[in-house]
Symmetry: C2
Subunit: 367 residues, 2 copies
């Protein structure tokens, strides 16, 4: 069902693929780092799967600009807006994160936005990157003008899943890294259920009559919509919906990128562009708030105390966002990154297209 | 069921009550503004109900310091930590919000934290206050060392409901104001159901066996816990839980206040202090990001486009967080603030205790 490949080999391969698709060596290395982070931490839909399915094909057909010139649109003590020049979101958001970290170290907190960008991969990567520098961070992206889900109680798909990640350093154990969409699940999980012929749990999808739907095909046929975090209005669905709007306001009108609910585009029917996506990274330096020596220890104690609680189900210990992913990462480093067979096949096909050599570990699956 | 009282009369009465409880005229006016905002916008549990049930009694018994000396603990270009000197959270957070707005106008974004504080009322007030100044804001509070809900899948109540609000200006209509707890509902809504003898909807409470519970008494008897936004792990409960941790990390270890999962306090059993609460306000100035003239128009279009969508249920038009509350506020201004009978009785009782005159409108209910 999966193949395992050493982390370093996957990183080299991803870097080579991005270079072959036109990126500079430096940009390719940055992008590969984000791709490999996702695979290493178990975010299967956002790693090699996206490399082979989104990044490389779109870099090659020109929908993503392989040689963008990042431009600073605005720059203040604690803020900046970058124009991504239609480049790969992974690369521009690494730059945005590092810029936000640098500014936050000077002033306490900083926000860097990116406009005119594309898919930025695993939101958690940018939050995690900041924790490694000792900072707290929040990273988010909208989905440009794409419509994935209607507003709460609406019928027209107007908003993206609008992922949001948050991270905080907690030395002595896994950092806190929350990586969430504003919907109950990211659409990749619905696609995975469809591919595997599984029903989805009650609560993920709601039919056009407002009733629960468990057939993943209904989502792709337009007969059911993905729910907002919280589900119906009675159980807090307005909160997930509200978080999606917040992300779209920051990544759209603030960043100067496109956003989902755009009347002109809605009138054009189904085809809505996924270009001009916006991203926002907010970094906070505990040291600037006088908590340089105490924040990490406090965070560690908070997270450890939660984890030490007696669980309802003895088989499912209490944990926190970031901890299971850190365990997956440790296993990936020790035993190699687990890639599902269908992803391994995608990578083999991509390697053939690019005329580069695929890691030998992948070849096993195809036979 | 409710009495109606003119907004200005309620504001004067709340100000007088807070002054009688020991606040300076200026602090009383600031606190009353937050109380009245909640009542005017329909957040019944966080307005006069909290004034009579929490603020005035605790100011009088000394658990909240009526004459605090706010102290600046740290101060950078875009950040500050204030020590609230055990004062009323409403007053210190108004100061924190204005300080954050001022700094954000200089640098783009600012974060002001408050430690050693108390209940801060309606989180939405601070976000709304920033929108009136043309800024975007996020406001949050933890619940000090109080334990309201266990970690996801845990059994010991360790975390607060950890409210989070976000606001954005959108001239020409109601601003976006999201005011949410990280749990499916705030506990005040469970108490309201208990008082009215109603069951709560499936999804609000989960029993110690992990099954849904609809009897509100089970929460107060410790036989059921409030769920995290998203519900079970299968439907995104780790996201609400993660947001609660994020709020506790910022309002606890970053602000230098207490936080929920604290081993020493857990060992003391049931009694856990609700003093030394922390708050955080983050303000963002669109003008500093070059979006001074475009952000508001973009936000307006985004929100209006969502609202114009065809609803699933024709009787329930699509809306967005902030819009229904703005309609309630307009009705409050036109017809007077609606206060439930039990709140009116609380205010009458409080007036008697303070030996001040209650507004005549309230007297009607007692007869």
């Amino acid at each position: 069902m999966t193949v395992r490949i050493p982390v370093q080999r996957l990183r080299s391969f991803a870097t080579e693929a991005l270079q072959c698709a036109g990126l500079t060596e430096q940009d390719a290395a940055a992008g590969a780092e984000v791709v490999v982070y996702a695979d290493v931490h178990g975010f299967t839909t956002h790693g090699s799967n996206a490399l082979a399915g989104i990044y490389v094909p779109r870099l090659r057909d020109g929908r993503i600009n392989p040689g963008p010139q990042l431009r600073t649109v605005s720059d203040t003590a604690s803020g900046a807006v970058l124009d991504g020049d239609r480049g790969l979101g992974l690369v521009s958001t690494v730059r945005a994160t590092d810029l936000a970290i640098g500014k936050a170290r000077q002033t306490g907190i900083a926000l860097v936005a990116v406009r005119n960008s594309s898919h930025f991969g695993s939101a958690g990567y940018y939050a995690h990157r900041a924790t490694e520098a000792g900072l707290i961070a929040i990273a988010m992206t909208n989905c440009g003008a794409q419509g994935v889900a209607p507003g709460l109680g609406g019928t027209t798909r107007m908003l993206g899943t609008n992922p949001l990640a948050a991270g905080a350093p907690a030395p002595g154990g896994a950092p806190f890294v929350l990586d969430m969409s504003a919907t109950t699940v990211a659409t990749g999980k619905i696609r995975a259920a469809q591919r595997e012929g599984r029903e989805v749990p009650v609560g993920w999808l709601t039919g056009l009559d407002g009733m629960p739907v468990t057939d993943p095909n209904a989502y792709f046929d337009g007969k059911a919509d993905v729910t907002w975090l919280g589900g119906s209005a009675a159980t807090g669905g307005a909160k997930g919906y509200g978080l999606a709007i917040l992300v779209d306001l920051l990544c759209g009108p603030l960043a100067g990128a496109s956003w989902g609910p755009t009347p002109d585009l809605l009138e054009n029917g189904e085809e809505r562009p996924d270009t001009d996506i916006g991203h926002v990274v907010i970094a906070i330096d505990p040291a600037a708030f006088g908590a340089g020596s105490t924040f990490g220890a406090g965070a560690r104690q908070l997270l450890d105390t939660l984890s030490a609680d007696l669980p309802v189900d003895p088989a499912r210990p209490v944990t926190y966002p970031g901890a299971p992913e850190a365990r997956t990462a440790a296993a990936s480093l020790a035993d190699g990154v687990a890639l599902p067979d269908h992803v391994a096949r995608q990578l083999l096909s991509m390697a053939a297209d690019l005329e580069i050599k695929a890691p030998t570990e992948l070849a096993a699956v195809a036979e």
